[in-house]
């Protein structure tokens, strides 16, 4: 099992740490990965308006940090992602019931959250053109939470890949990857030879650069995924669902 990514500390372990600094760092990572699915889930499932959903999202994380509720996760009972969503459901239900009686709480703040961008994504979601995600109901909400979590995971990995390529002078590698895998503006993907002439590199280099970028992306995704899972088993399950693959079977 030696190929597990080990560079990022486990976020799930970190949020249960007695050390406030460790807990703080873990919560920042947790919020980065989960704020978008949490916000959209509250907007859609609980039918709260944008402002309310933003408040509830911030408050959920703040309360969880203060009370350490997410640190009480038991890996044997569920995946962490499921546990977090159930905690969120409980929190929002209680919050709505207690509205007016309790002080809206928490003065803890985490990484900056771009609720306006998330709101734009809701209104332009392709699942429901014209009316946006607000029309999603029932089972879609669970899928939505997972899909947004996956989206965040990949977006974070792509950002890390871009930064790493820029830092190491591999901008052409990233450009190949961006044009072939990331760019969804064209209906049809460019061929390798089109990319080669566009970027003035041999066709074989397109294959190599693409392979490099994908390998790195995969590594970064798995690294992030590992940090968001509580156990090796949960990591394997998530990786298999996410990439259709066992993360332990390919050399890193």
């Amino acid at each position: 099992m030696g190929s597990f990514p080990a560079t990022r500390h486990s976020v799930v372990a970190g949020i249960a740490s007695p050390d406030i600094q460790t807990r703080r760092v873990a919560f920042d990572a947790l919020v980065s990965a989960y704020w978008r699915p949490v916000y959209k889930y509250v907007r859609i499932k609980w039918r709260r308006d944008g402002e309310d959903a933003a408040d509830l999202t911030q408050e959920f994380f703040a309360r969880a940090f203060e009370k350490g509720s997410l640190g009480r996760f038991e890996p044997a009972r569920a995946r962490f992602r499921t546990f977090l969503r159930l905690c969120l459901d409980g929190f929002v239900a209680n919050e709505i019931k207690a509205r007016g009686r309790l002080k809206r709480g928490g003065d803890v703040s985490f990484v900056p959250l771009d609720f306006a961008a998330a709101e734009h994504e809701i209104s332009t979601h392709p699942a429901a053109p014209g009316v946006g995600m607000a029309s999603l109901t029932g089972h879609d909400e669970d899928d939505l939470f997972r899909q947004e979590w996956v989206r965040g995971l990949f977006a974070d990995a792509v950002a890390a890949l871009r930064a790493s390529c820029e830092a190491t002078g591999k901008t052409t590698q990233f450009a190949v990857f961006q044009r072939y895998d990331l760019d969804d503006t064209a209906d049809v993907r460019p061929t390798y030879s089109q990319l080669a002439s566009e970027l003035a590199i041999p066709v074989t280099q397109v294959t190599n650069y693409l392979a490099f970028a994908r390998r790195e992306l995969r590594r970064l995704v798995l690294e992030r995924l590992r940090s968001l899972c509580a156990t090796d088993e949960e990591f394997r399950l998530e990786a298999r669902e996410l990439l259709g693959a066992d993360p332990t079977s390919r050399p890193a």
Binding site: A155, D181, D184, L217, L242
Partner: protein, 329 residues
């Protein structure tokens, strides 16, 4: 951090699991689907300028065993040169350690996605499958996973049997073909399929195969699976796009299906050729060996079989009678 669109996210998820083709002459065009052990991609051969199907091992647990199986499948396929068996062009190992093989890209549809066709056409497909499988059997290869998804019908009506990943090689396949090395005894031996390990697909798997004892499985397991294929084609494959209800299955055809799918292998057709002969006989309006027809059924079958000469004789007789009635002679 910009949010990714759904389309970009889909591409990235696929890309993160795409094989590393560095050092090969192939480039991925798209994903076709996932088979028993691997993912099949549409790829472009840059040297020959043609599109091919590239099967790459999925990332499973126990990879060495599966990799050996893939390599074996490729070699098995390479030995089976038949118009009904998808030809293989290339085999190798990628830099990321995964095994791949390149094969002909079949443009068409798997059996379960075929638009509804007439009974004779469907029976013709079964006969083509039987021919390909009989060829494989003659060379000591048992498919063990025949099902609608593994039979492709090409644009010009050609029928190809796909996915030989769980095929069993009995005896010396290469010796019977007079070529190359023996697949079971070289560096890519048949992975051991022990007791309790079930390979195949429920609904198409013979009972002895489902029991998980590989020593009991012989060519008659493929007879059973083709019987199931025939059943699907005659009754309508349960599919959202093509619901059940293709009409009543004629008794002789039902008898063929029943015999092919007999629980005891000894009660089945001895081989797929015998099955194909019965299917062809039914298609031609001849007597099938699996069905004892009564006198009335025989008369009706012969009437249908020889309808043209019978109609001509009747027309002649009617004309003579009319002549007699009108002219009295």
């Amino acid at each position: 951090m910009n949010a990714l669109s759904d389309a970009a996210l889909r591409r990235l998820r696929d890309a993160a699991d795409e094989p590393d083709l560095t050092g090969t002459k192939y480039e991925i065009v798209g994903r076709i689907g996932q088979g028993g052990m691997g993912t099949v991609y549409r790829a472009r051969d840059r040297e020959l300028g043609r599109e091919i199907a590239l099967k790459v091992i999925r990332l499973p647990e126990g990879a060495p065993d599966i990799a050996a199986r893939m390599m074996r499948e490729a070699r098995t396929l390479a030995l089976l040169e038949h118009p009904g068996i998808v030809p293989i062009h290339d085999v190798g190992t990628l830099v990321d350690g995964r095994v791949f093989y390149a094969m002909k890209l079949v443009r068409g549809a798997p059996l379960h996605e075929l638009p509804t066709t007439g009974v004779p056409e469907r029976l013709g497909i079964v006969e083509r499958v039987c021919e390909a499988v009989a060829f494989a059997h003659a060379h000591g290869v048992i498919h063990r996973d025949l099902k609608p998804q593994n039979v492709m019908v090409g644009e010009f009506g050609e029928v190809l049997v796909m996915d030989w990943g769980v095929a069993k090689v009995v005896g010396d396949a290469t010796a019977s073909l007079g070529v190359g090395s023996v697949p079971r005894t070289d560096e890519h031996p048949e992975p051991t399929t022990g007791h309790g390990v079930v390979l195949g697909t429920p609904g198409y798997m013979a009972p002895e195969q489902a029991a998980g004892d590989p020593s009991l499985v012989d060519a008659r397991a493929d007879v059973y699976a083709i019987g199931a294929l025939l059943r699907d084609l005659c009754t309508g494959i349960p599919d959202a796009a093509r619901p059940d209800g293709s009409g009543e299955v004629p008794r002789p055809l039902r008898a063929i299906i029943r015999r092919a799918m007999a629980p005891d292998p000894r009660d089945r057709y001895a081989d797929v050729t015998a099955l194909a002969q019965d299917v062809a006989a039914f298609r031609a309006g001849d007597r099938v060996t699996s069905y004892n027809e009564n006198l009335f059924e025989r008369g009706r079958r012969l009437a249908v079989r020889h309808s043209t000469p019978i109609l001509l004789v009747l027309a002649y007789l009617l004309m003579r009678l009319t002549f007699l009635a009108v002219f009295g002679r």
